[in-house]
Structure formats: structure tokens, C-alpha cells
Amino acid sequence: MSTLLEKHIVELLQDRDEKAISLLYDHYGDTLFGVANKVVRNEELAQDVLQESFVKIWKKADSYDSSKAKLFTWLFRITRNTAIDKLRSVNTKSDKEIQIDVSDVYNLGTESTKPELMDVKDNLNKLEPKYQIVLEALFFEGMTQQEASEELNIPLGTIKSRLKIGLRELKKIYGSTTLTLLIIFLL
């Protein structure tokens, strides 16, 4: 899914043109802000994380290799790692206490008012919570499958299967909206 837009942004990044950051913000800002917020669970902190992440993206532009990862994967890694570092530095003491709060999963939709994403939010709610929890723990909380298994008190095998089924279900639910989303993000 390497689009013309992605290629254009990558070229600008590698030419040290700050227009790249503006474009990245317009196209991925909301998603990365959501990712940061899911990890740090605090909008103020999430703003700091997003700022730091974009500075890192700007500084590390040379290290992006389109043959190894999609642009979004790279952006996601930087944002997620920045958020995890932030969380550790801000809250080292209660680091151990961070747990998956199931109620968060249901609060997701209320945070965003982006009308074009409303359908998507509805779709997300169609994904059974047990899959959502596992996906979130793995993708956002910085847990390994082993850690998620211990933290959520779910056997490792179940974690693995829920991850696979969850992703498959997501794709199924999502199939119809992929095109819409693509168009939204390309505009």
C-alpha cells in the first residue's frame, strides 16, 4: 500500500524539506495521536509524545527504508516507543501497576468526533472485547505475548490465537471500509 503520497512524503523527508512533517501531520497526526494516547492514557502527555515523535521522525528521516517497512509502520514504531519511554519516565513508580482497563476499550469512540471515522468506530465496537484487549496489549501497551499472557491472565496459546483471529475479524469487519478509509487518507 505504498501510495504516491507516501513516496512523495518520503522524498520530502529525505530532502530535509519540512513540508514532509506538515503532510505527515495532516495524514497520520490523528492516528499517531490516538496511538500515543492509548499508551500514556493522558491527552496532555500524548501531545508531548506526538511533538517528540515528530522531532524524532524528522531527525531519523535518513534511517527510513521503504523496502523494510511501510511508512506507517515506521511512524508507528517511533511514536509507540516514544510514548512508552515517556510513560516510564513520568511514572516509573506505578509502571508495574499499569494494567489493561477493560472499560477503556469502550471509551474509545467518545474521544474522537471525526465524522468520517464514526463508521470505523462502530466497526471497532463490532470486534469482540476479548480480541480488542489482546490487540491493544500487544500493539499499544508495549507487551510481549508472554507479558500479555501474564498480565491478562490468559494462556499464551490463547493470546496467540486471539491475536490471529482478532486481526482476521478486524479485516473482515474492515473490508468494506478499507476503500473509504484509503480515499479519506489520500485526500
Binding site: I21, F76, R77, S112, K114, L138, F139, L163, L181
Partner: protein
């Protein structure tokens, strides 16, 4: 699908790689699997797509003004970056200038030292020569003015009848000099060479170059029972005298 690939996909290495949490070793392994096995590559692409989809589901409106804050920070970063490189460039050129100047002065210092040594050596040589010449002149004066000095007229034998010389020997001061007054015409490839036999050893005194030397007194090594010889030698002089070519001898034994 082979068991190896199945096992790989069942491990969470690919997921860890997706999130960028693999170790260097693991990264290499995953990248090798992705490159070699199309199934792994396909799964990786799917995972990336799913991650993007999943992440976008959690998108949140960014607050107003955050974009400008970020752009300002990036611009500041860019400026300080270029400023940094400007400082580096200035520092580099300063360091280079300093190095060049250091080399220049070091080089100049070195050549001055060398010149100084040469001048010192020259001065010493001149001083030694002067001392030598002064000593010579002094000795000549002593020899010529001392009443004990004996004067010997030296004439060439049949091989060089035109040869005329005067030897001054002073046994008290142990000094001897010879003054060549006239030299015979010799073939182009011959010359006259002077020798002194002192204590049984033949000492080369030098070549009598031409008649312009006639006013010069040549010092002869002094020795009791010394004998002076003049021989005809090939041009440029000889290491040992050619006995059959002796044209004159000066015996200044007491």
C-alpha cells in the same frame, strides 16, 4: 509450508519485529525470513496493514495549535542543525588554518635552524683557515728571519734542468719551507709533485701547479734526517712517488 516456517510464524518474532522491539540478532533473522519466504513476507505485509487499520480505529482529533508547535520545533531543529554544521565548518577551517600556520612556522623554524648550522660551520671553517694561515705566515716569518735558518738552493737534474727552488730549513724551530722559483715545461699530461721522506715514510706535500706559485712558500713536514723530493708524475698527482722520475732532492739533514 514447511515446519520451519510454521514454527517461525507461530513464534511472536514477526509481531515483535513489526513493533520494532526485536534485538539486532532477531531483526536479522526476521529480515532473512521475510526476504527468503514469500509466506512470511505476505504475513508481514498483512500484519502491517492490520496494524495501520487497528491504529486508525483509535485515531483522535489533535488539538488546535499542536501542528504549529510541531512545525516550529522541527524548523528550530533544522536551524540548529544547520547552525551546528556551520559551527563545525567554521571550527574545521579554523583548525585547518591553525594547522597550516603551525606547519609553516615549524618549517620556517626548521630551515632557519639548518641555515644557522650551515653558517656556524662556515664560520668555524673560516676561523680554522684563518688560524691556519696566520700560523703559516708566522712560521714563514720566523723561518725567513731566524739566523739559524739554512738556505738550500735546489736545482733539477737532467730530467728537469729548468727547475729551481730554494728550501729554508730551521732545525731549532723544526720548520722547513720550500719556494719554487722556476719549473720546467712539462708535457700536458705531467706535473711536478713534492714529497718528503720523514722517518722512512713518504709524505705527499702537493702538486706544484704553475709558476704563479713561485712566490709562495710551501711548508714541508720537518723531521730529523728528512729528505725532500720533487718528481714528475702524471697530471693530477700520484699516491706514491715514481722513484725513477725524481728530478730533485733536498736533503736538509743537519
Amino acid at each position: 509450508m514447511t515446519d520451519k516456517i510454521k514454527k517461525f510464524l507461530e513464534s511472536d518474532l514477526l509481531e515483535k519485529y513489526l513493533l520494532g522491539t526485536t534485538s539486532t540478532e532477531e531483526t536479522l533473522k526476521v529480515e532473512r525470513y521475510i526476504a527468503i519466504h514469500p509466506e512470511v513476507n505476505k504475513t508481514y505485509i498483512e500484519l502491517q496493514d492490520n496494524l495501520e487499520i487497528f491504529a486508525k480505529l483509535h485515531a483522535m482529533d489533535t488539538p488546535d495549535g499542536l501542528k504549529n508547535k510541531i512545525l516550529d520545533r522541527v524548523k528550530a531543529e533544522k536551524k540548529s542543525h544547520s547552525k551546528f554544521y556551520r559551527y563545525i565548518a567554521v571550527a574545521c577551517s579554523l583548525a585547518f588554518l591553525f594547522a597550516a600556520a603551525s606547519f609553516f612556522f615549524w618549517n620556517q623554524n626548521k630551515s632557519l635552524k639548518e641555515e644557522n648550522t650551515i653558517v656556524n660551520n662556515k664560520m668555524k671553517t673560516i676561523e680554522d683557515n684563518m688560524k691556519q694561515q696566520l700560523e703559516d705566515v708566522r712560521n714563514q716569518f720566523i723561518v725567513l728571519n731566524n739566523p739559524k735558518t739554512k738556505r738550500y738552493n735546489v736545482k733539477g737534474n737532467t730530467k728537469a734542468k729548468e727547475l729551481k727552488a730554494v728550501a729554508y730549513i730551521n732545525p731549532v724551530k723544526k720548520l722547513s719551507y720550500i719556494n719554487v722559483k722556476n719549473i720546467p715545461n712539462l708535457p700536458e699530461d705531467k706535473c711536478l709533485q713534492m714529497w718528503a721522506e720523514v722517518d722512512g715514510k713518504m709524505i705527499n706535500i702537493g702538486i706544484i701547479k704553475d709558476i704563479s706559485d713561485k712566490d709562495k712558500l710551501l711548508a714541508l713536514p720537518y723531521g730529523d734526517n728528512a729528505v725532500g723530493y720533487i718528481t714528475i708524475e702524471p697530471k693530477g698527482g700520484n699516491k706514491t712517488p715514481t722513484v725513477e722520475n725524481i728530478v730533485a732532492n733536498i736533503s736538509y739533514a743537519n
